[in-house]
Symmetry: none
């Protein structure tokens, strides 16, 4: 019997310049990848979430749907939305996150004529 997670106040950090729903997707995805949201955990309902985050319900809905599409959430009619119990899907998502991020950084590095390693060194230089 799954416990229901409760969003902590201030758990979501919001940048007004970017789409809200996108930021929710990213941050919930990270919580699942990290294990903060364990497989099988029940998420607060769309309405509850919207109320506690002071946000439009459609925004939350959009985020939940996107996470379903990623096979990270599953919802059951009338019961709510749950973190998937398919740990393989979670592992895949986690790895995909890493690959995407690293590839992005490699491309940036290449565009200024550096390797990833050199880019990191440059970012750490004192002066």
């Amino acid at each position: 019997m799954p416990s229901t997670y409760v969003w902590n106040p201030g758990q979501f950090r919001i940048d007004p310049a970017r789409p809200l729903y996108e930021q929710f997707v990213e941050q919930i995805r990270a919580m699942i990848a990290k294990g903060t949201l364990a497989p099988g955990t029940r998420l607060p309902s769309v309405r509850e979430t919207a109320a506690s985050l002071r946000v439009n319900p459609t925004t939350v809905m959009k985020a939940y749907q996107e996470l379903e599409r990623l096979d990270l959430l599953v919802s059951f009619r009338g019961q709510g939305t749950f973190v998937t119990e398919d740990e393989e899907a979670i592992r895949r998502s986690r790895k995909e996150l890493a690959i995407t991020a690293v590839r992005q950084m490699e491309e940036l590095a290449a565009s200024i004529g550096l390797t990833l390693k050199q880019l990191i060194e440059l970012s750490e230089e004192k002066e």
Copy 2:
């Protein structure tokens, strides 16, 4: 007397889903950081660029102005737009690029409970 750079066909890779001017900024910024566009080089005029990229002049203008704000370009009325000769500004921009990218990746890593090094290793794991 500075030579005028000429955009190569296909030099700009465009993703229609993101703001055009933003992508021009990024790519020109990278060319300056890499040295493809040397200090003092004259850029193609707003109109020329617009024509060769099949884009509205105001879009090009917006990109040029943003790059001026970053101290990477300077423009002289009636003469054209030039890569800054302030090499310190170029170095700063280059380093800022690196720092921003690395910090972003570190934050992503932290959000799933990893260090940057671990994130890179994860992205390289077979299967």
Copy 3:
């Protein structure tokens, strides 16, 4: 829940010889520095402002975006544009305004061989 400010008729004094958006920036900046526009206040939307000032929406937008770059406004997609609640940023802007103005005048004074104090005295001399 922030109240929405309404531009008073004749609130903006416009000199047709200078860029419109620049004058909007200056005058809104002054209203924020003075407190006429309090932190958190919602500004009239881009379209409303454009209509009431008889000006193109993109011109208003340019002004709002410039003020965002100065950290004096923040905008939320679908909600509107607001005076920042970061009072430190407002104080900084206010002080920067003063410093810039005074420095400018000091430079002018120096260029004709006077101190700032002497310049002010000269401007006040009868005949």
Copy 4:
């Protein structure tokens, strides 16, 4: 018999963002007000000036004409351009400079709810 002034290299400080001719007007006007350019002094010709400053002759011409309009320069066919010997005109120009600058600063101060004195104090505050 008037001596001919010679521009020192680096005598003019140029801001690419503003009209060149306007900056020449300002700076020559200041030199006259300060006495660096004494009454009766002969200025370098338009062509000489243009060459030594690496600037378009029409730009120099425009500046000289504007200064004639201000009664600070006089030109005689085939002889060149001279600083006026009408010292009253110079004094007037000097005072006008001061008045304009001070009035501008007072207006800025008023727009943020300060007096001129308070504006100067604010600009000098440590923190």
